[in-house]
Amino acid sequence: MKEFLEYVTRLLAEAPDQVEVAETVDGTNVTYELSVAPSDVGRIIGREGRVIRAIRGVLRAAGARQGLRVSLQVR
């Protein structure tokens, strides 16, 4: 899931080299902290938050299959 997140974010970002993903696992809770260049935050969030919502949705579905609850924050 982390690799998926990195892959998608780098495609979306204009500064892919500044994309960083930190993963924290606590039992069945997985938290991703995504940091991107300030100018890319809007691209990752998307209009009305649609992009970030789609990313969260896909991560949630992928996590559910392994019994994991996934959350994602953008810094």
Binding site: E3, L12, V51, V58, A62, R65
Partner: protein, 279 residues
């Protein structure tokens, strides 16, 4: 040169493709896959039916002496061959030569590379999510200035990838399009389907619409359908827009938005053209 091509039948499209690749001893990006018959898994349908695929080794790999590389490279399919006559029209690497004479090209040809980028990107996304999958291009058409690329995914965990009310599928498609417009900067639109979920869903939505309309007409009471995403509500509206007996409208917000089908009253004749009202 004749391309090497085999046909394989198996329970699912994915299995068939896998077996074919094993028999041919090549990797996925060295072949072209043609789905002859869609398998039916029995998850959605009642009976199951075998899938049949024809897998053809691409010519550029047939005479390549180099051994197959171990790392799958999704984007190598249509890299230009160095040799070849440099005639006016570029050949896109089909094994059959299309000699229909020269037809004038009114529309700019879509780039085969874009299609492969779209296919490869989706495959990569699903791979990274560890969903075993095979992505095939099921069609390309143009809609004004936009190229529509239709991708079909064969997978084991179809239900999970589609999600409740198709939500995960919609998210995947949205993300894929966002990523591609970011990288390609061209006007292409990718429609992702998973084992023909969309076709089947559209048919069942039309059935739901017609049955509900029938009930509304008999009982003269509005019927509210379950919440649906915009594309599904649209299918309902379109299915019933010509009905002289019922009218449709959407109500509610966000994921709770749903279609209400109500009897057309004398005053609600929005469309003056429909003259067959019965007393």
């Amino acid at each position: 040169m004749a391309a090497e091509s085999i046909e394989v039948r198996a329970r699912t499209k994915e299995d068939a493709i896998r077996q074919a690749l094993e028999q041919l001893g090549v990797s996925r990006d060295e072949v072209e896959v043609e789905v002859l018959e869609e398998g039916r898994s029995g998850v959605f349908g009642v009976g199951s039916q075998d899938a049949r695929v024809r897998v053809t080794v691409l010519e550029e790999y047939l005479d390549a002496d180099e051994p197959e590389d171990e790392s799958p490279q999704p984007f190598t399919r249509d890299q230009q061959e160095p040799e070849d006559e440099d005639g006016g029209d570029e050949d896109l690497g089909d094994e059959e030569d299309e000699d229909d004479g020269e037809e004038p090209e009114a529309q700019p040809r879509f780039s085969d590379e874009d299609t492969e980028t779209a296919r490869g990107t989706l495959e990569q996304m699903l791979d990274l999510l560890e969903f075993p999958n095979v992505v095939t291009v099921s069609g390309v058409d143009r809609d004004g200035n936009t190229t529509n690329i239709h991708l079909d995914v064969a997978a084991e965990e179809v239900g999970l990838m589609i999600g409740r009310r198709g939500e995960t599928l919609a998210n995947l498609q949205f993300l894929l399009n966002a990523c591609l417009s970011s990288t390609l900067g061209r006007s292409i639109r990718v429609i992702v389907d998973i084992e023909h979920y969309r076709d089947r869903r559209e048919q069942s939505l039309r059935g739901i619409a017609l049955r509900a309309a029938d009930q509304v007409r008999r009982e003269r009471q509005p019927v509210t359908l379950e919440p649906m995403p915009p594309n599904e509500r649209r299918i309902i509206h379109v299915a019933l827009q010509a009905s002289p007996y019922v009218a449709t409208e959407s109500t509610g917000e966000g994921p709770e938005r749903r279609v209400i089908i109500s009897p057309k009253t004398a005053s609600s004749g929005r469309r003056p053209s429909n003259g067959y009202r019965r007393g």
